[in-house]
Amino acid sequence: MEVLASSWVDSLPRKLREWMEERLTPEDDYRRYMEDGDFINEKFIWKTLKTCKDPSPGEVRRILDKAVCDKECLEPEETATLLNVKDDGLWKEMFEAAGEVKREVYDNRIVTFAPLYCSNFCVNNCLYCGFRKDNKVVRRRLKLEEVKKEAERLAAMGHKRLITSYGEFPGLSDADYVADTLRAIYSVKVRARRGWGEIRRVNVNAAPMTISELEMLKEIGIGTFQVFQETYHHETYAKVHPRDTIKGNYHWRLYCMHRALEAGVDDVGIGVLLGLYDWRFEVMALLLHSRELEERYGIGPHTISFPRLRPAANTPFVQKSEYKVSDEDFKKFITVVRLSVPYTGMILTAREPEHIRKEVLPLGITQTDFGSRIGIGAYSESYSKQELERQQFELGDTRDLDEGIRWLAEMGYIVSFCTAGYRCGRTGKRIMKLLKTGKERIFCKLNAVLTYKEYLEDFASEETRKAGEKIIEKEMKELKEIVPEKVYERFEDYLRRIEHGERDLYF
């Protein structure tokens, strides 16, 4: 374990400022992408929201039809129209349409993953974050052996996908360290009941990086590179991210997905932290970001995330925020994002409690986590389910993976551990096309069943196994109707082979 005294922040040297100045080269990093300012035109957003008020039911239904049929990003005016709906009956239609879009693009599967916090050293001082530099918490960075131990524990639970998370600190928690942790995680293999457990895809949530750093992560086989803007509202961004920190540079962060796509990392994840600013503004901004990436690179966001502010140690800002998003508005936020960017994956995390997760899953969620622990070393060391002083924020749902899978099965969802697309070239422009044409849902369905079967064979409790087999039976009936006979025969063959101990078979 690497532990540093909490006083480390007090002696932050001038070197840090020099590092920041050296790291940022505005011309290369963001100015070259900008034309008359950045693509988050606040005047335009507010004007559009204002001019699309009081929409007619006919206009709203036309937009819903478009989202369901075309699976292309909506126009900003269309999204603004949806955001201005007041009628409860129309909102109900919108909730249903959002669910339909999700099923058309991704079927009824929910991909699952676990977060792995590797380091909480951070030079930033974000007012809402438990790991901000002014907080006197124990700082740790996992050694690579410790990272492997954590990954082994997660693989032994049945996880196949992780999202790794890091603070930002030169020389300690930087791109090289991220690269090393990816290598460590990918090297893990553990025995399971019948087959083996391994982590097949590692997504990364880290600070913005340079193109050369991103190229290095690409070479190692990064999954999705995820950076949230937190808030797209310039003034609020400046308020919550102090100017003398690297995160205080709005444009360095805003354009990091441009750099990622130029580096060839073609799965990128964007997001906002709900509660920092007006949620309707953030929906419009997420749409503009998605459209900007698609227009420039032909590739939109692979995922959109929208964590809500949660209590965290010594963060009074969280209690004071005037923009906290109510449960009802949270549902509306998810619905309009799903309709506005139909092809994107949408991530709901265990920040949210069980009853909220149950309510919003049908609105278009594609990924969620179970069994999550967000303290450094929390999977392999002595740790209760929640230790706020060791976490970035408080979790709302601490159920384990097996329980989560059973819970979803009882609601008719199949959990998918699929990582096939990224291992056979269904990435970037290719996956975009498959998503927009509704073809990806067939791959999702086939691979969800195969990976679910692996989980039931290797890790599930008896109770979950029973619930899961019923889901598989239902899925097989549906598949028989929609895939060619030859494909179905191969699918049945794969299922048999999984029962006999083979693993990692996919379409």
Binding site: E219, T419, R423, C424, T427, V487, R490, L505
Partner: protein, 114 residues
């Protein structure tokens, strides 16, 4: 011929191609990757005409096979036959017959300068 059939969906086992040690004959790299996408696009079209199968090329980066080129209009939902053409270039053939996939790989390798 420098290629290595993978593996993950073949009848022989279930290891991932990226985990296999690259044979000495395959140690060359396909460079520069992004500048040669057009060439790969043309080759994918040729393969479709000659063998009647869809193929696409991917940059191989550890476990990740990142799409490079090879558009197609129809989707057959068959399991992908993955063939490692060289250290960093993968070929994915949508075809249920491993022999045909190998023929496609042989042909493409003869046309590719890796």
């Amino acid at each position: 011929m420098a290629r290595e059939i993978c593996i993950s969906n073949s009848e022989t086992g279930s290891e991932n191609a990226s985990e296999k040690e690259v044979k000495s004959g395959l140690s060359k790299k396909f460079r520069p990757v992004t500048e040669r996408k057009f060439e790969l696009e043309k080759l994918a079209e040729e393969a479709k005409k000659k063998f009647g199968v869809n193929v696409w090329f991917a940059e191989v980066l550890g476990k990740r096979w990142s799409f490079l080129a090879g558009e197609k209009d129809e989707e057959f939902f068959l399991p992908p036959v993955k063939i490692l053409l060289c250290e960093n270039l993968g070929l994915v053939v949508e075809c249920d017959d491993a022999e045909v996939a190998e023929k496609v790989a042989d042909y493409l390798l003869s046309r590719l300068d890796v």
